[in-house]
Symmetry: C2
DNA sequence: CCTAACTGTAGCTGTTGTGATTACGAATCA
DNA sequence: TGATTCGTAATCACAACAGCTACAGTTAGG
């Protein structure tokens, strides 16, 4: 028994963060070349071009990248790679979604409410811890780990 | 490791952690009463009894709780509440699942491989940071925040 | 025994989130 | 004008989570 509608709580399987980091690193390595099309980024990340643009949307609004339509359009880094921390990217894409999963408690149960409140507070602390850890890496750091040259997708250079 | 076909990588969709913490706290408050049925736990957590048992499975294997079938069966805490850190619970339920989402990169792209490796390392560090944060709270701590008495589901006490 | 009350698990279903795909409009440059 | 590329909406397929039912295995009590 217990047919209460169960609390739908978001927090999901974001591949978006990984895709974003990948794209930013790619762009950081192609700064000299000018705009890069989402088609090329799509080939590098192995995801759909539309998905690339969707992921890059929030990053553009935050000023990390910029895009231009048209014949020689595409995407460019709008912030130096060494100033883009992974924490910033993560916060942009994760939003306010809980890191740990919370669940809709039974309003009739005092334990439910108490646990819920405690858990929400702890989730916040965890989110801060994650951000703090991600603050330690920048896109530049990741790019620096990449090998030297030959960083293009075959058939696009 | 790392099946590159397309993203099937887990992240945090688990309500299980929250349910587990809830149940453990409930059990910690009912230690004197003897075994608690998963039906009662189900009413408190507002999830299905079967789901409760599924979540509690790993915790029992780890020795945190124990269960007995039969007429007066149910679940009991098998470890003092002050020794159960949330980190332990989290690690049991999270397993080796990545905290941030990784994605299947393009094997033909050197950037892909590099980013992938970096991201995996960072994910490990983040997981440690999360665990460290969760190490600071125990089930006893959460129970202590609960109010005094009247911690049963109406109709069950 | 036999029944009732539990756990333990398998199987199916409904819902939801994610990403692929297509399509179309807007902007830019030759 | 026409080709290229972004921006976005709409739709589809797939997988994960959880709800639910059903049934087998255990235990207590008559």
């Amino acid at each position: 028994m217990a047919i209460w509608q169960h609390g739908g709580m978001p927090s999901s399987k974001n591949t978006q963060f990984a895709v974003a980091v990948h794209v930013l690193t790619y762009l950081a390595g192609q700064v000299e070349r000018g705009p890069v099309s989402s088609d090329e980024l799509s080939a590098s990340t192995n995801v759909n071009p539309v998905h690339v643009r969707r992921v890059l949307g929030p990053l553009r609004e935050a000023g990390l990248v910029c895009s231009r339509p048209g014949v020689h359009g595409g995407w460019e880094l709008a912030t130096p790679a060494e100033e883009i921390t992974l924490a910033r990217v993560w916060r942009l894409l994760q939003g306010a979604d809980p890191v740990l999963g919370l669940h809709g408690p039974n309003p009739d149960c005092p334990v439910g409410r108490g646990v819920q409140r405690s858990l929400a507070a702890i989730d916040g602390a965890v989110a801060e811890a994650v951000a703090a850890e991600l603050e330690r890496s920048t896109v530049q750091d990741i790019l620096a780990r990449e090998v030297q040259g030959a960083c293009s997708v075959p058939g696009q250079a």
